[in-house]
Amino acid sequence: MTTDKKELAVAALRNGTVIDRIPSPVLFKAVELLGIAGMDSNVTIGNNLDSKKIGKKGIIKVADVEFPETVLNRIALIAPSAVVNTIHDFNVTAKRPVVLPDCIVGIVRCGNPKCISNNEPMATKFHVVGRNPVVIRCHYCNHTIEGAKAQIL
C-alpha cells in the first residue's frame, strides 16, 4: 500500500498541464522545447511507458502552469501525436492534440551549414511541407529536414 501512495503522490496533479503521448525517443527534446529546465514548478517526467496507441510513450506533468498555445504547438514539430490535458482541481478540463503551425519561426536550426540563417544574426524560419511524417523546409535555403531530427535552437 505504501508503494501505491507514493505512485499517487507523483501522479496526482491538482492544477496544471499534462502532455501525454509523446514518442519516447523525442521526450527530452519536448522537455527542451517547453523550456521546463528553468521552471520552479513541480515537474514530473515519465518515459518508456507502455502505450496502446504509439508503443512506448513519454509524459510530462507540470503543476500550476498553463502553457500558451504557441509554446505547446512547438511540440507538434517532433511529436505530432502528443495530447495536451489541462487539469483544474484534479479534473481534466480540456484535452486537445497539439497543432503544427504552417510556419515555424525561431525554434529550429537549419541543418545546412551554408544557409544564411546559420551565418547571420537572424531568426530561422521553416515551412511545414509534410505532416506525416513531419517534414519542414527552410524558408531561406530550401533545405528540408524531418521534424523529429530537427536541431532545436
Binding site: 545546412n112 544564411i116 540563417s117 547571420e120 537572424m122 531561406y140 535555403c141 530550401n142
Partner: protein, 311 residues
C-alpha cells in the same frame, strides 16, 4: 521599427513567379533583342553586389544595365568590402539600399538573397546564392528554348550529366511545369536526379524517363539536350570522379540521326562533356544561349524596376 514590405518585383527563385509573369519576361527579352539600345534606365542606379566572384554573370548584368542607359555601382569580391570586417549582410544591404534603385546580388551562402528582400524595400535580383537558386539562368534557358523551338509547349528535354547537384537543371525542371514537357534524365547513379524533383514531376503530371545510357533513342527523341558539367569539387572520392567525369561526352557523330530542330544547350563553362567537334554543328546552341542571357537579364531588371519597355 518601420515595417518593411517586401518588394514584389524582387526575383529570388524561379518558383516565385507565375506562368504569366514568365511569359511576360520572355516577351520583354524578345523586345530587348530586337531593340538593343532602349535607354529606359536613364537616371537609375543599380548595385551589383558580388560577395562571390562570378565574372560571366556579373558582366552580363552590368552590360544589361549599361545597354539600357543605367549606371552601375558595386563590387566583385567580398574581400574588398566591410563584410570582410565582420559586417552583417543585413547592414551591407541596408547601407547600399540608401543609394540605389535595384540590387543584383550573388552570395556564397544559400538563402542570402531571400533574406536580403526582407531587410530592404529596394527590389533584389538573385544572381546566384550558393547551390540554391539562379533564376536569371533559368530565364535565359527558357528564352533559348522558346527562340529555337518556337514554343515551350510539349517538348522533349534531355538533361545529361550532374543532375544531383546541378541547380540549373532543377530550376529549369520547375519552370517547365507549365508547358507539358517530357524529360529524359541521363546520369550515372551517383549523380541522378534527386527524388524530390521526381516527386515534383509526379505531382505535376510531368512525364519523365530515367536512364544511365546516353543512347541514340534518347538523343533522337529530343528537342533539347541540356548538357551539364560534372563538378570535381562535388566528389569526396576522387577516384569516383575520375570514373564518371567523361562518361557522358557528346560527340558530333552521336547527332547524326537527331531531329533537325534539336538544339544543344549548356550553362557553360564546359570541360569535356561536349566535344569540340560539336561546336560547328548548327545544332550547337550554347554560345548563343549565353548571349541570350543579356536579353533575359534586361527583362528581369526592367520588371524589377516596374518599367514597361514597350510604353
Amino acid at each position: 521599427m518601420p515595417i518593411i514590405v517586401m518588394n514584389k518585383n524582387s526575383l529570388v527563385s524561379i518558383s516565385d513567379i507565375s506562368r504569366d509573369e514568365m511569359l511576360d519576361l520572355l516577351r520583354r527579352a524578345r523586345y530587348f533583342e530586337e531593340n538593343p539600345d532602349s535607354k529606359i534606365l536613364d537616371g537609375k542606379i543599380v548595385a551589383t553586389l558580388f560577395f562571390e566572384p562570378s565574372t560571366r554573370t556579373r558582366l552580363s548584368f552590368e552590360t544589361a544595365v549599361n545597354r539600357l542607359g543605367g549606371r552601375v555601382i558595386g563590387f566583385s569580391d567580398a574581400a574588398t568590402t566591410s563584410s570582410s570586417k565582420g559586417e552583417t549582410l543585413k547592414d551591407t544591404i541596408k547601407m547600399v539600399s540608401n543609394y540605389v534603385d535595384l540590387i543584383v546580388m550573388r552570395h556564397y551562402l544559400e538563402g542570402a538573397a531571400r533574406y536580403a528582400t526582407e531587410v530592404t524595400s529596394v527590389p533584389v535580383i538573385n544572381a546566384g546564392d550558393g547551390a540554391n537558386q539562379h533564376p536569371s539562368q533559368t530565364m535565359l534557358d527558357l528564352y533559348s528554348i522558346l527562340k529555337t523551338q518556337g514554343t515551350l509547349e510539349n517538348l522533349t528535354i534531355t538533361m545529361v550529366g550532374d543532375l544531383k547537384y546541378g541547380r540549373t537543371v532543377h530550376s529549369l525542371l520547375m519552370a517547365m511545369q507549365y508547358f507539358n514537357p517530357t524529360f529524359n534524365f541521363v546520369a550515372c547513379p551517383e549523380l541522378r536526379m534527386p527524388q524530390e524533383y521526381k516527386d515534383f514531376c509526379d505531382e505535376h503530371g510531368i512525364k519523365y524517363n530515367e536512364t544511365t545510357e546516353f543512347s541514340p533513342e534518347v538523343i533522337n527523341s529530343s528537342d533539347i539536350i541540356y548538357m551539364t558539367r560534372v563538378q570535381r569539387e562535388r566528389f569526396s572520392d576522387i577516384m569516383e570522379y575520375e570514373r564518371v567525369k567523361d562518361r557522358y561526352t557528346l560527340h558530333n557523330d552521336m547527332l547524326a540521326d537527331s531531329k533537325p530542330t534539336l538544339r544543344i544547350l549548356h550553362p557553360l563553362p564546359r570541360v569535356n562533356e561536349i566535344d569540340r567537334d560539336v561546336d560547328d554543328n548548327p545544332k550547337a546552341y550554347y554560345f548563343e544561349q549565353a548571349r541570350n542571357g543579356l536579353f533575359a537579364r534586361q527583362a528581369i531588371i526592367t520588371r524589377a524596376l516596374g518599367i514597361d519597355p514597350e510604353k
